[in-house]
C-alpha cells in the first residue's frame, strides 16, 4: 500500500476514496484531480499498479515525501510536494494535455465540491460542468 496523506479522518471521505480506488485496473495511466482523488492511490488493491500522471508534467508521480525529502521543484497541480517513482518522466504542460487529448490516459478522477447524480459538477466558480469520461 502506498502511503499518502489523507486530510482529516472523516469516515465518509474514506468511503468515497475507497470506492473510487476500485476503478483502478493494473497498468492504467491515471490522472488525478485536486482533492480526494489524490488520496485514492493509498487504497490500491494488492497487486494492482497504476502510473500516475500529474498534468503539470509528470508521468510516474510517487507518494508524498517524508520530512527531508521535499523538493520545491517537485509538486503536483494542487501545489503539494510529491516524489517520483522509478521510471518517471518529466515534461511540459503542453505535452501533458497532448497525451490526454491523444487518448493515452486511461482514467481521470476529478475532485469537485458537489456532484449531481447525472454527472453535473459544481466547482468554486459556481458554474455547472458536465463530467466527461475519458
Amino acid at each position: 500500500m502506498l502511503t499518502l496523506a489523507v486530510a482529516g479522518g472523516d469516515d465518509k471521505r474514506e468511503r468515497i476514496i475507497r470506492r473510487a480506488a476500485k476503478e483502478f485496473r493494473d497498468g492504467m495511466y491515471v490522472n488525478l484531480g485536486i482533492g480526494m482523488p489524490l488520496a485514492a492511490p493509498a487504497f490500491l488493491p494488492e497487486g494492482i499498479e497504476v502510473i500516475l500522471q500529474s498534468e503539470n508534467g509528470i508521468l510516474g508521480m510517487g507518494r508524498y515525501p517524508r520530512p527531508g525529502e521535499e523538493d520545491p521543484d517537485l509538486i503536483n497541480p494542487g501545489k503539494e510536494t510529491v516524489t517520483l517513482n522509478v521510471g518517471a518522466s518529466l515534461f511540459g504542460s503542453h505535452e501533458s494535455f497532448g497525451m490526454i487529448r491523444a487518448g493515452r490516459i486511461d482514467l481521470t478522477m476529478l475532485g469537485a465540491l458537489q456532484v449531481g447524480m447525472y454527472g453535473g459538477m459544481k466547482n468554486l466558480r459556481g458554474r455547472v460542468q458536465r463530467l466527461t469520461r475519458k
Partner: protein, 144 residues
C-alpha cells in the same frame, strides 16, 4: 441552461456561442462566447482554436547559458517552455547562469533561439503546500 445527460453540452455551447463568458453583478449575461468554427478530420469533429499571440514571456528555469539555452529541473517546466517559444520576446529568470557548453545539448529544454534575455534569479525558492506522507498505521487509525 438545461443540463442533459446525453452529449457533451459544454463543448456544444462553447462551439455555438451559447456559453456565458462573463456575468453582470446582477447575474445577467454580459458577454457570450464567440461562435467557433468546426471541421471534420477523418470522421471526427474538431473545434478550431487560435493560438495565443504573446508579446512577452517571463519564464523561470533552473540553468541558462549566455546563448539562452535553458534546462528545467524536476517539474519546473509547466508552461514555461511553450510560452517561451510562443512569445515575441522571452525573458528568462534562471536559478543558475552557466557557461556555454555546460548544459549537454540533449539536456536543453528551451533553445536559445527563442530567448532574448537571461536574468539571475534572486528570489528564495519556497514551498506552498508542504505535504508529507502519513504513517500507514496512523492512516488506518484515522479511518475509524
Amino acid at each position: 441552461m438545461n443540463i442533459s445527460r446525453d452529449g457533451d453540452l459544454l463543448t456544444c455551447e462553447v462551439q455555438t456561442g451559447q456559453l456565458p463568458m462573463k456575468y453582470h453583478p446582477d447575474g445577467t449575461v454580459a458577454v457570450m462566447s464567440d461562435v467557433k468554427e468546426t471541421r471534420d478530420f477523418k470522421g471526427k469533429p474538431f473545434v478550431m482554436e487560435e493560438s495565443i499571440a504573446g508579446d512577452y514571456a517571463f519564464v523561470k528555469v533552473d540553468k541558462a547559458d549566455r546563448l539562452g539555452n535553458c534546462r528545467f529541473r524536476k517539474a519546473q517546466n509547466n508552461f514555461n517552455e511553450v510560452m517561451g517559444k510562443n512569445a515575441q520576446i522571452t525573458i528568462v529568470e534562471a536559478d543558475h547562469i552557466v557557461e556555454v557548453g555546460e548544459i549537454a545539448p540533449e539536456d536543453i529544454h528551451l533553445q536559445g533561439i527563442y530567448v532574448k534575455k537571461v536574468i539571475q534569479s534572486t528570489e528564495e525558492k519556497k514551498i506552498e503546500k508542504l505535504t508529507f506522507a502519513k504513517d500507514p498505521e496512523k492512516l488506518l487509525e484515522a479511518g475509524e
